[in-house]
Symmetry: C2
């Protein structure tokens, strides 16, 4: 059996370990903290603590972008090892992989799963069940490497898999994930938040669920996808201004049209995402 390791025992790395172990793989884990390694061992998420990255045929890197790039540039992988990362930005990561010669095979991943909590205590063998997985392709990407990763993905329980370039990934994700976290984070800054308990329903809860982003994790993600996220923010601010301007002008017909526009778009994406 191929020797598999996961670097990083946070919610995503921990869940990769847990899901693969549950599916019968032997997985070793590399954690930054003693606590996360102990937790992973006790929970039965890993076979053992990893000692030497060069021992493994397959390595999942599940650490923040800067550390991921460092591993991909300077990690001492086994010759021909299959290495996959799970970063939420892919162009910068891919650059680090392909800008110099390397002794490993690479496939970029982005599992569309998570929680509003973090760390291995939030990990679960079920985290990826039915979730979307994005696999990014460069011209250097080998079909057999992608096929190998898909076997792992199936074992982890992923639902739909989409494949695209790193650039396409970064544009889409700026909307579907990164912007959402900023909007949620901004949403709670209204003075009306004070004492709003009891005045909320599902829409407020949905809007603010992910507001508590860890700025240490997200600032670099945004920085690595700066142009796309600026574009999304510009677009959203300009759209929000249309409702505001219609309200201010007491132009209810315009307001109604502006709402209808969004409703019609929402109806086109309904089927694909619900």
């Amino acid at each position: 059996m191929k020797k598999t390791a996961v670097i990083g025992l946070g919610i995503i790395g921990g869940s990769i370990c847990a899901a693969l172990t549950k599916a019968g793989y032997e997985v070793d884990g590399f954690g930054r903290s003693r606590n996360s390694v102990e937790y992973a061992l006790k929970a039965g998420y890993i076979r053992a603590e990893g000692k030497n990255i060069a021992d493994y045929d397959t390595v999942f890197i599940a650490v923040p972008p800067r550390a991921t790039i460092e591993y991909l540039k300077n990690g001492k992988f086994k010759d021909g090892a299959l290495v996959a990362d799970i970063c939420g930005v892919k162009e910068e990561v891919e650059k680090a992989v392909y800008e110099q010669p390397r002794n490993y095979r690479y496939v970029g991943l982005h599992p569309m799963a998570g929680k509003e909590t973090s760390g291995i205590v939030s990990a679960s063998p079920e985290l990826f069940k039915g979730a979307n997985l994005i696999i990014t392709h460069a011209k250097q990407t080998q079909a057999e490497d992608v096929a190998e990763i898909k076997t792992y993905a199936a074992a982890m329980g992923f639902g739909r898999i989409v494949e695209c370039t790193a650039s396409e990934h970064d544009k889409k994700i700026a909307l579907t994930s990164q912007l959402a976290h900023i909007v949620s984070n901004a949403y709670v800054k209204s003075p009306q938040v004070v004492g709003c308990e009891g005045f909320t329903g599902g829409s407020f809860q949905d809007m603010t669920r992910i507001a508590g982003v860890d700025e240490q994790v997200w600032t670099p993600l945004y920085a690595y996808n700066r142009a796309n996220i600026i574009e999304e923010l510009d677009g959203l601010i300009s759209h929000l201004s249309e409702y505001r301007d219609a309200l201010r002008a007491e132009n209810d017909e315009k307001l109604s049209e502006t709402l209808k526009e969004g409703r019609l778009i929402r109806e086109t994406i309904k089927r694909g995402n619900d």
Copy 2:
């Protein structure tokens, strides 16, 4: 037993009927369409179709704001009947009640429950289970009328009940419900929405769940709460601009601080709303 009627057999009116009937009340329904009345009868949500509003001791008005105001101004209620409405805006409704003499007792309600679908087909006796209910108070409000409404609310299964003035309600709701619907509606207008299926996780789904607002329902709600919703939109746009400006200036320290600000606020409201 007091004779109870519900005017309006949409999702909220239908659910009031269904919940009260399930709790043992005899409830008659007034529906605008034949279909909704037939549905309510077949589903066992109502005892009978209502014929004359003046026959009832308690009347819940569950129709859009304009029609609610019309009922409150010109409805022929029984002398001393207890009348409650469920509109999402309360100052304008209250004005209609108190600006002229009336032969009925009044309590304003706003159930914080709903779905992204509408109509009696979406109604359920469980819709209000554990949900927040807002009761608005004016100086004319009588404690015994509120107590009577609370008995009904308990029967419908509401969780927390908060009481406040119509003005406080309208300010809070501008944030916790009305703004959320505009943000969601605006969110889907990004060009990246095209083909985003497979690139989404829970955060996108949360952000866009309520995007498909019915402009016929929401335009008047916004119009009746214009000043508050403009204030919320101004605030959100200005906050979103801070992230955008920090990104544009490549000031990651500022971006991180801006995210941290939101996280700290989110942590203060966590307990009350999760």
